[in-house]
Subunit: 194 residues, 2 copies
């Protein structure tokens, strides 16, 4: 699907990004990523290949850029009435999304991105980790007994996010969903006893 | 460095693998991986490019294959007198190796490998996870109060291996080494209270 015509915020540069993203997503639905080339994306998006090379460097960065947009959270985490419940609900959704073929490919595309040498350190990998941090922080700030304890967010990342992502990338099977409650408890216990 | 001349176990096929690995390692020391091509490896290894394409498919699989050989453990984990101590020592070494530039590249090369569709499911990612499992199992079998409890290995993977790998791949900084003892304790506590 080509982007909807009409003016968009950010001008020409934003329009190019949107067109390239839309064409990449469309091509990814039609064929394997190994078959997709920069000239194919350029032709579909109505830009020149050199525009893409100049802006993204290579196709790996285009895929990673599209992956980041897929993973960017659109809503704050669901409220269930308790921090523990909110974390469990968020982690279950995160596991479900990330262990789908689209989620797994997005994680791999982000790992493959090679822009880690950029001076601002704002790599695709950091952005992806940052999305989780923001959602977890939002949950913890709903209850000051957690938000006032330093390091809880990092513990949730170590005990909950890391095993979800590690098993998707390295293991035959994703994390079993019924493990999530125990992992959230480990993160919160560790926080309480820190 | 070319492989040492002389007969090796496995015959022609093993010799080709060894030569291609050695040339890849040598080229990786000399230049960035984005500059390395299959014809360059072939020329250095004294094989034809089509031999490499036929056996590995593409350069991503050559890099992943070399990465697997780098990560294959050469010795059993160090004995310190206790399972907790052995796990802490092993995890500290694993963190140190994996967070070096060579270790990080090896992890990324393995994630990039696309051979997950192979019928035996023996993907590079599974192999990499398997190396950790074997080392952790070896440690746990030194004390039957742990080896007799089901699922302890998986808990060590969730609570110790996963955060080490996740932070290397996604975060600006690797896991702080002084977090390892607490993570090992989480894994063993969870095992005891399971």
């Amino acid at each position: 699907m080509s982007p909807v015509p009409g003016p968009r915020p950010g001008g020409r540069s934003a329009r190019i990004q949107q067109a390239v993203h839309a064409s990449t997503r469309k091509l990814l639905q039609e064929r394997g990523r190994a078959e997709i080339t920069v000239p194919m994306i350029a032709a579909d998006a109505g830009v020149t290949p050199s525009t893409i090379y100049r802006r993204w460097g290579d196709i790996t960065e285009v895929f990673a850029d599209v992956a980041i947009e897929r993973l960017r959270p659109e809503t704050p985490p669901r409220e269930t009435g308790s921090v523990r419940g909110d974390l469990v609900a968020w982690a279950q959704e995160y596991l479900e999304e990330m262990s789908s073929p689209v989620g797994r490919d997005a994680l791999r595309d982000i790992v493959m991105s090679g822009d880690e040498a950029r001076p601002d350190n704002d790599t695709k990998q950091n952005k992806c980790a940052g999305f989780c941090r923001i959602q977890i922080d939002t949950i913890l700030h709903r209850d000051e007994s957690f938000s006032a304890t330093p390091g809880v967010t990092e513990r949730v990342i170590d005990h909950v996010v890391a095993p979800i992502v590690y098993r998707i990338l390295f293991d035959q099977d994703p994390l079993a969903e019924d493990r999530i409650e125990a992992l959230v408890d480990s993160a919160l216990d560790a926080a309480v006893h820190a």
